[in-house]
């Protein structure tokens, strides 16, 4: 081993961090690290991508005949928008698990001892998880096409639909990032997130029509952002019979706008909350 010196031959003094530019560049470094991990452990990706295929097929063939959404649109087509919404929301668990794993393995301690942007680890993680969601949307869309789903409103609307799904998923990622910082281990994160995600996705119009809920639950379903997200994607993909009017609540009359309001609200609350929690987080 040659001589070890603390002072490198040509090491500049690290500049002080500051502002969104540093957050973005540090975030990119962290995101790149997460993406390298996808490459190294492709098994994870396989499972992440198989579950949406499974969901599409499961619902299309198991419940496909049992549920009638009304109008001229077959259930399968009605269903796909719901599965899109459900899957991207489920995908956020991944963010929480990633953060929890970093906490458990002590990497967060290393990050926190570096003069990097305090939001970079979270920015990087949530950003790299968008890649997972893009991939799972592509897989789902292809599976959907196979079972008879079509986007009938043209490319622009279709892309708008996908974009809305991704933006909402990104917001939920921040919620799960916060949860990931709170839980003591990776094992806990799945259970913890299901408590949030199951009611959100299943007590919505994602799989069954609004009309099938009892009046008490129905209010929740109507104002559930996942319902709005589902409604919006169905409209943008043209998977709703235009002759059937949208339910008579503001949230579902303006589903895209309502979804975006939720996105803004979630980010406004959970970005600062998560960054603050990160500042205190440390493996015990």
């Amino acid at each position: 081993m040659s001589t070890v010196t603390s002072t490198g031959s040509s090491t500049p003094t690290p500049p002080r961090r500051g502002g969104p530019a540093r957050a973005a560049s540090d975030g990119w470094v962290v995101a790149k690290r997460n993406l390298i991990k996808i490459k190294r452990v492709p098994e994870v990706l396989v499972f992440v991508l198989i579950s949406p295929i499974m969901f599409v097929l499961l619902f299309a063939y198991v419940f496909g005949g049992a549920i009638d959404p009304g109008g001229d649109v077959p259930y399968r087509e009605f269903l796909i928008g719901g599965i899109f919404a459900q899957t991207v929301v489920f995908g956020a668990t991944f963010t929480g698990a990633g953060i929890a794993e970093d906490m458990q393995k002590g990497i967060i301690d290393r990050f926190r001892s570096l003069p990097m942007s305090p939001s970079a680890v979270l920015v990087g993680r949530t950003a790299s998880d968008v890649v997972y969601n893009v991939l799972s949307l592509i897989i789902m869309a292809l599976t959907g096409l196979v079972v008879g789903w079509r986007a009938r409103e043209g490319v622009i609307d279709m892309l708008a639909g996908f974009l809305l799904l991704l933006v909402f998923a990104y917001a939920i990622s921040w919620v799960m990032a916060w949860v990931g910082l709170l839980v003591p281990s990776v094992e806990v994160i799945n259970n913890a997130s299901f408590i949030v995600i199951f009611p959100l996705t299943f007590v919505s119009n994602a799989f069954v029509p609004l009309e099938s809920f009892s009046s008490g639950l129905r209010v929740f379903v109507e104002w559930n952002p996942v319902s709005a997200l589902t409604q919006a994607s169905r409209e943008l993909f043209g998977n709703i019979d235009p002759s059937v009017p949208a339910p008579d609540v503001w949230s579902l009359q303006h589903p895209a706008l309502y979804t975006l309001l939720w996105v803004v609200l979630i980010l406004a609350v959970f970005v600062p909350l998560s960054v603050r929690q990160y500042g205190r987080a440390s493996s015990k």
């Binding site: 002590g106 301690d109 001892s113």
Partner: protein
Amino acid sequence: MTDMIRAEGLVKSYGKVKALRGLDLVVPEGTVLALLGPNGAGKTTAVKLLATLQKPDAGRAEVAGVDVVGDPDGVRARIGLSGQYAAVDEQLTGFENLEMVGRLYGLGRAASRRRATELLDRFDLAEAGSRPSKTYSGGMRRRLDLAGALVAAPPVLILDEPTTGLDVRSRQQMWDVIRELVGSGATLLLTTQYLEEADRLADDIVVIDHGTAIARGTADELKAQTGGERVEVVLADTSRRPEALRLLGEVAIGEVRDSDNGRGLVAPVDGGTRSLSRVLQAFEAAGLELLDVGLRRPTLDDVFLTLTGHTSDDDEATTGATGARTGRKTGKDENARASR
């Protein structure tokens, strides 16, 4: 000489558990301070406060002249931390790990890469540099982790139990690396539960137990503090024992007794090597032949026993024997013990 680390009255509790109860530390520039103590003594907590991972409940600390609470970023830019368990990303290669750390120190892409290559080279990891670090041995991971702490060539290094869980050979390698670092002028705070490690690497030692310093000084000073310096002789001709007893009695400061194994005599002294040479001269003059003679000073284990009433081994019966103990495990032990 300026002090690169200065801590006064650090207090930190986790719930009801008081991890630190007012710790003072001073590390002058270019020196090595070992924070020595058993699991749960508060060593890792002290590291976390100094490395800005957590805030003290009370007290204050400066690292390289920067306040840890007032300007944590300033501190982070001036320290390199190597944790109790290697905080390297297992899926990333050695090179990628170091490059990432460089980028996050704000070194820029080219400088980060150059530095990564340089450090891999210096830490004997050049060949392994392109392999994911999960394929590394425990010793290699620790070296990579230590390399990570050096990426930005920080003036202050904080190493939390750098050799816990390593096998003997890897520990020796780490010691070599750390000694070279020290030789190049780095200021270093090192925590350890190994008395030998503190003795070998540190200029000053602070013995810590239950969150407070119970002794401080150089290894020699600590040994002297416990007293118990003694000259041991083994006679060639045991029939001349009464004569030997008389000669030793002239030098000894207490009662001369038989040694534990019964073959020799032990005389408590206080003059160090002077006492030893007086004994030698006396025996020479009397024509008493010796099979063995030596000045025995107390080991740091003795020091610990005297200071705390328990040996440092009480809490770590298995430590060091194998590499199987992980940092996680140690952490749990620490909590368990701290809550007693």
